[in-house]
């Protein structure tokens, strides 16, 4: 199993290394704009639960960015599949579906962690210091696992690049804005909070935020993210099998 897994992961890392100089600014642009517009300009005077808005925003941005970057592996897979036909090379190789999915999911998670490091650096420029404890990293790990697994499954189901864009619009964008990145979810009506409870990002944002403030996060969020991640991972394996034909 390991042979295919390392090859798939290594390929993604070689590509990432080659594009890193372009990739770092690209990971920085959106968070930097959010920090300037919402954190610095709009929310300068705002205090939420005893924290400045900037302190509130940065953990949310890290959760959101880990989601978007983990999910972005779907785009890489689709370029390899529809444009370069490299997916065929993996399909023809003696590599199990589990190995392929594991390699791609780990690549997505690596991208997610790189983007989190970029935001941590940007946050430090704004003078924000967070507690980077085990709960903090575990929440980001699980969040990126959930969305990288979802991305691999979705990448196998779509029929074109256009479909991929549509998925991002319908899944990732609403999640980014409603998943507790920019505002506390308890400010919404109760019925809306109940719906948002089902979004994995809302649990990740909450856990990352609590952990980075040095508080005890709700461990049920970790359990839920783990269960969703495992479910998406197995779904991705089935989707890779289905992609034949």
């Amino acid at each position: 199993m390991i042979q295919g897994f390392t090859a798939v992961y290594l390929r993604e890392m070689l590509l990432l290394k080659r594009r890193l100089i372009k990739q770092i600014p690209s990971w920085s642009v959106s968070p930097l704009l959010y920090l300037i517009a919402f954190g610095y300009a709009m929310g300068r005077e705002m205090i939420i639960d005893g924290h400045t808005y900037m302190e509130f925003l940065i953990p949310g941005l890290m959760a959101m960015s880990s989601m978007t970057q983990a999910f972005a592996i779907a785009t890489e897979i689709n370029v390899a599949r529809f444009y370069w036909h490299i997916f065929e090379e993996f399909q023809a190789a003696p590599v199990s579906n589990v190995s392929y999915v594991s390699g791609e999911v780990l690549a997505g998670m690596t991208r997610a962690f790189c983007s989190v490091v970029v935001i941590l650096f940007l946050g430090s420029l704004f003078g924000v210091r967070l507690s980077l404890n085990l709960y903090f990293w575990a929440a980001l790990f699980l969040n990126s696992f959930v969305f990288a697994s979802l991305a691999v499954g979705m990448a196998m189901l779509v029929k074109s690049h256009a479909d991929q864009g549509m998925l991002t619009n319908f899944i990732i964008t609403p999640m980014a804005f409603l998943g507790g990145t920019f505002f506390p979810i308890d400010r919404l009506p109760v019925w809306a909070q109940k719906i948002i409870w089902f979004l994995p990002l809302s649990h990740a944002s909450d856990a990352v935020r609590m952990a980075s403030f040095g508080q005890q996060p709700d461990l049920r969020s970790y359990g839920l993210l783990l269960i969703i991640g495992i479910a998406f991972f197995f779904m991705a394996i089935l989707c890779v099998e289905k992609a034949k034909d």
Binding site: Q3, G4, T6, A7, V8, L10, R11, L14, L15, R18, R19, W84, H85, I86, E88, E89, F90, Q91, A92, A93, P94, V95, S96, K244, D245
Partner: protein
């Protein structure tokens, strides 16, 4: 080495392959010849585990492609019709990733990479990004990549499509060289001269069925040795003769414009299927 029994493939209402049976022994180069849409690529996709068959069985080196998928995949190298190299990676990196996919150790990969790049005359381009290579170089690299794990069987799906004549001949020479090492080669092509030059046996495929299979010499001999192409009532007509003398004699008795030439596989294909290959 390659054993196919009663293989069929349906895509909804389309029957792409109809009850195909075939055996390719070790070291043979079989050319699988047919017009576009005949089922050549579908056969390769089934044999390489990229597509499931609707019915029938196939095995590679004794490993069933459905039951022993991973072992069956270890037996072959594949050069698909579309160039599927990682364009952003270097020549060397492409080969390295392939080696890792097939469970090769790093030292083994380094040695084999050097050997193969030398073999396909790309050693001086090992650190070039693939996107900077010419079409012919990319094809040679794809062949080298397919040979990385030293497979017993090589599938070549239209390996020279889109290449100019001189590069095509260079690829042919490379395929001949591989053939001499007792690698079993399954070649799909719609270039008649490619099949004629390279193959020990040729299978004619039309509308998902193998029409006939034999050596190129026997297939040609069934038609005769010489052919006359002539225009009759605005229609091209081809007549076949066993000797040049009998062809010349026919022409001296019939006062029409004509072209005298050797019979080739295209004639055989046309006679059997009523169609041109391309």
């Amino acid at each position: 080495m390659i054993k196919i029994e009663h293989l069929s493939k349906h895509y909804k209402s389309l029957q792409a392959l109809k009850d195909i049976s075939l055996h390719v022994p070790k070291g043979e180069l079989l050319a699988y010849l047919g017009p576009n849409g005949a089922g050549k690529t579908t056969t390769i996709r089934i044999l390489t585990g990229l597509t499931r068959s609707t019915r029938g069985t196939a095995s590679l080196n004794g490993f069933d492609i459905q039951k022993d998928v991973l072992m069956a995949k270890q037996q072959y190298g594949l050069v698909p019709q579309a160039i599927n190299l990682d364009q952003e990676l270097t020549v060397s990196e492409n080969l390295y990733i392939h080696g890792r996919l097939y469970g090769m150790k790093s030292t083994e990969i380094r040695k084999r990479k050097h050997e193969l790049l030398n073999y396909v005359e790309l050693l001086d381009r090992k650190d070039s990004q693939v996107k900077k290579l010419s079409g012919g170089m990319k094809r040679r690299l794809m062949i080298a990549r397919a040979l990385m794990h030293d497979p017993a069987i090589l599938f070549l799906d239209e390996p020279t499509v889109g290449l100019d004549a001189s590069i095509r001949r260079r690829i042919w020479a490379l395929i001949k060289k591989i053939q001499q090492q007792q690698t079993t080669i399954f070649l799909t092509t719609h270039y008649i001269e490619e099949a004629e030059f390279l193959a020990q046996r040729v299978a004619f495929l039309d509308e998902g069925t193998i029409i006939t299979i034999d050596t190129p010499q026997n297939l040609i001999a069934k038609q005769g040795q010489w052919a006359i192409d002539r225009i009759v009532n605005d229609q091209m007509e081809t007549l076949y003769f066993q000797s040049r003398e009998s062809a010349n004699q026919y022409n001296s008795e019939n006062d029409t414009q004509y072209t005298l030439r050797r019979v080739n596989l295209e004639d055989s294909f046309l006679a059997v299927t009523g169609k041109k290959v391309k």
